[in-house]
């Protein structure tokens, strides 16, 4: 990474400061939970009233929302778990939401969201939502809706330095420019120069967050793939790690299998897990980004008191 200078305010009007959480919707919370635990996530809290679980490792929060209406089609017992939301840390969530609406975002339609706390959100790609969270420094949004799981470590360390590196989004043919405009205009993302890629899947368009701490990768259908059903959605989480091969070994020892054939195999640049539960994969990417600070260090300190 290059060190950037200049006034961060001018290119980051919302004060975006990383990903607060990523949400999966699923009708198979147990199976997805098992997969997440293989990936190093630990269930740390459950929602007070809904079938929603908070997983965590290092600075990453991941919510598993098992409400049947969490996403359209998710009521079916064999529905493939799907990424349903990302939450951005921002300086002022009300301001960020209003700014996005003024610029042409759609406010989220009411649905059963993971939180009862009013977290402002807008429509993202497909049926996904983008939330704005400003309480992440000295107060945790999870304290309101979630009850800690007895005996669980509330702030489990990250395996092999894993942290959120970004999200991969599928886009329809010739639609990358539209989505670049969407993320550029609403949030201040910028396009990385062509040819600058991370990981083992060098394709699509990479957008860098205005806080320079995570990426969105836009992938169009491959040429000649007219017969493939290619819907626009969030398709994969990218996890950064300073040492990909060490992370691969650590995850393999926990039972995670990685794709290993000619075109895609684990290297020191990146790796891709096999497809689980009909459609869930994780991508590892070499990254020396500092994992964000933990959500509630004050809370963690309190826990240590007798």
């Amino acid at each position: 990474m290059t060190i950037r200078e200049g006034n961060p305010e001018s290119s980051n009007p919302l004060g975006i400061d990383g990903i607060e959480f990523v949400e999966f919707a699923t009708s198979q919370p147990q199976a997805l939970g098992n997969l997440l635990q293989m990936m190093g996530f630990v269930p740390v809290a459950r929602h007070r009233s809904r079938e929603v679980t908070l997983y965590r490792q290092g600075g990453m929060n991941l919510i598993v929302n098992a409400h049947p209406n969490a996403l359209p089609g998710m009521a079916s017992p064999d529905a493939v778990p799907a990424l349903s939301a990302m939450a951005l840390r921002v300086r002022d969530s009300a301001y960020a939401w209003q700014h996005a609406i003024d610029m042409g975002a759609w406010e989220q339609t009411p649905r059963v969201s993971a939180m009862e706390l009013n977290i402002p959100g807008i429509h993202g790609v497909g049926d996904t939502l983008i939330y704005f969270v400003d309480r992440y420094r000295d107060f945790s949004i999870y304290d309101v809706d979630f009850v800690p799981i007895p005996g669980a470590e509330r702030h489990p360390p990250a395996l092999a330095g894993l942290h959120y590196f970004g999200l991969v989004q599928s886009v329809s043919a010739d639609r990358s420019d539209d989505w670049i405009d969407f993320y550029r205009r609403l949030f201040g993302f910028s396009v990385l120069p062509e040819g600058q890629y991370f990981g083992v899947l060098p394709k699509g368009t990479l957008l860098e967050s205005p806080c320079h701490s995570f990426y969105l990768q836009l992938i169009e259908p491959p040429p000649g793939a007219d017969d493939i059903v290619w819907e626009e959605s969030l398709v994969r989480i990218g996890l950064g790690t300073p040492d990909v091969l060490a992370a691969v070994r650590a995850l393999q020892s926990r039972g995670v299998a990685f794709i290993d054939h000619k075109s895609v195999q684990p290297t020191d640049k990146g790796a891709l897990t096999q497809v689980y539960l009909g459609g869930v994969t994780f991508e590892l990417v070499v990254s020396h980004l500092q994992p964000p600070t933990l959500a509630a260090p004050a809370g963690a300190a309190r826990e240590q008191r007798p």
Binding site: D102, M103, G104, W106, D181, F182
Partner: protein, 289 residues
């Protein structure tokens, strides 16, 4: 050029949506430019209208029309954003990948270019998640934007991928705009072309243009501006425009003729244009199709 390059606007015909669709199909057309009224005004409701469109097998060229959108402020702006969102929902429901927006005639609209740019950027952004493109057209009686060059200035300044220009031959002929400026427009930013002519030489006042536009349009080849109309289509083709053409012919006589007779006139117009413009490069793939 061949008939697959052309569609017809439903407003060209009398009668029910089903009768219009059947007439277009019967004449060999493969696409239809819908009016939002086709959906809202269907006696059995919008869902039945959409079902009829799908059953017709005709591809939806686009949906018209969002009016008086840009340049408003306060509650008027908020109201128009609501209307725009509802029309985007209609596009989505009907399978339309294009929403036609014509330049504002509102006395309440701001004359500032920056305000127009900002509002159309917002509209285009609203359309992105749905995969819909916004085609902005200069109405020849628009308050501040009444020439295609002015509409292009807004589109160019806005610089949003899914916002482009709609070229309408009627308005160009009505204002007598020169075509040479069109060459400065990037062809991939022309999203849509509407074609029609009319039967007298000049429309000097805005009211003349309104009256002519709403009652006396004719198909290309039937009016008195054939030479310029052909020049326009040749120029678009030469520039590399590879999108759709649609006949938008508001005509009081045509809406009291059988639909098949009007569709036959449309088909004759395709032949007339094809004989004068041979599309030199048919693209392998068109965006949004």
């Amino acid at each position: 050029m061949n008939i697959d390059d052309f569609g017809v606007d439903t407003i060209t015909f009398a009668g029910s949506l089903e009768a219009k669709l059947a007439a277009m199909r019967g004449a060999g057309f493969t696409q239809v430019m819908l009016s939002a009224r086709d959906l809202a005004g269907h006696p059995e409701g919008p869902a039945a209208a959409i079902a009829a469109v799908k059953a017709s097998g005709l591809r939806v060229t686009g949906l018209q029309v969002l009016r008086d959108f840009e340049g408003l402020s306060g509650h008027l702006h908020a109201y128009k954003v609501d209307m725009a969102k509802a029309m985007l929902d209609m596009c989505r429901a009907s399978g339309s990948k294009l929403l036609l927006v014509c330049s504002s005639t509102s006395a309440h609209a701001s004359g500032e270019l920056d305000d127009r740019v900002r509002d159309l950027q917002k509209l285009a952004t609203l359309a992105i998640p749905y995969g819909i493109r916004i085609a902005y057209e200069a109405l020849s009686w628009g308050k501040f934007v009444n020439q295609y060059t002015q509409a292009w200035e807004v589109v160019d300044r806005a610089d949003v991928a899914n916002l482009g220009l709609a070229v309408d031959s009627f308005h160009i002929l009505a204002t007598g705009s020169a075509l040479d400026e069109l060459e400065f427009v990037s062809p991939d930013k022309i999203f849509f072309v509407q074609l029609s002519d009319f039967m007298w030489r000049d429309t000097p006042s805005p009211q003349d243009r309104i009256d002519t536009a709403r009652h006396f349009r004719v198909f290309p080849g039937e009016g008195v501006h054939s030479e310029k109309l052909v020049e326009l289509v040749r120029l678009l083709d030469h520039m590399g425009y590879a999108g759709d053409y649609s006949f938008e012919v508001f005509n009081d006589d045509y809406v009291q003729l059988p639909q098949a007779a009007v569709a036959e006139r449309a088909r004759r117009s395709v032949r007339w244009l094809s004989q004068r413009v041979s599309r030199h490069s048919l693209p392998l793939k068109r965006r949004g199709h």
